[in-house]
Symmetry: C2
Subunit: 150 residues, 2 copies
């Protein structure tokens, strides 16, 4: 698995938040129920995103979390970075520490290209783009597939 579960949940939640009108807080309970993710676990993950400045949170009734920027300005990369870090974009496919152009492994060049491709993809894909694609094709963001795009 390329991304941790925490990271995947963070991505799905961000995508879900991007379907809401900008500025409205959505409670974590609602997110966790809609996306079928453990509430307490999700709370911690979204705290990380809040800490990273990707989300804003509000306590109390009618509180919740929301995107800190327009969905057109949020790419997948910064969410992955905030939760899983950037190590996955630098680490050696053979697990060798310090593998790089200085002292590479035999796979370094080939793997480096694929890694960079993935990173580029995550950087160039915005939440807005995915929401538009999702709406247009009625695509899934839950395992059950019962999510209705607004």
């Amino acid at each position: 698995m390329l991304l941790s579960k925490a990271c995947i949940y963070g991505l799905r939640s961000s995508l879900f938040l991007a379907t809401y009108e900008s500025g409205t807080y959505v409670s974590i309970k609602e997110i966790s129920e809609t996306l079928d993710i453990s509430f307490h676990f999700l709370t911690k993950i979204l705290q990380q995103l809040t800490g990273a400045g990707i989300l804003e949170s509000q306590k109390g009734p009618n509180g919740g979390v929301r995107l800190s920027k327009p969905s057109s300005e949020l790419c997948l990369f910064i969410i992955v970075e905030a939760i899983d870090g950037t190590e996955i974009f630098t680490e050696c496919v053979l697990g060798l520490k310090g593998c790089g152009t200085q002292k590479p492994c035999p796979m370094h060049e080939k793997w480096g290209k694929k890694r960079d491709d993935i990173q580029e993809m995550l950087k160039s894909t915005t939440l807005l783009e995915l929401v538009e694609k999702g709406k247009a094709g009625n695509l899934r963001i839950t395992s059950k597939g019962d999510f209705e795009w607004q």
Copy 2:
């Protein structure tokens, strides 16, 4: 991490075995010491590769393991497949079960391409190719980098 540690150790060991003259058994102890991998853990991993027909094993003095085929006929994919399985080449980047062309997620197409690229790379890369590359450039297959190509 894309590949499990077990898988990485399997790949490194296979690469190491490919530096030996075809037919010679190499003891797991030697592999584990050279590549700095826990002996008992490695034993199990190599048992998996033996079970999958990628390696052949021989018990007793002067026993060990060896590649079952010429290194030119062994690609990285079958080693990954034997240890980590093929799920990594089919699973959804958002973790949605059953995500596919039938009922895709918004990332399905983009991620599918990257996944396929990686699979293609692993299928088209043989142990021989990596050994030749390693010898030519004195590249690393250990973390310490103290490995000497024969």
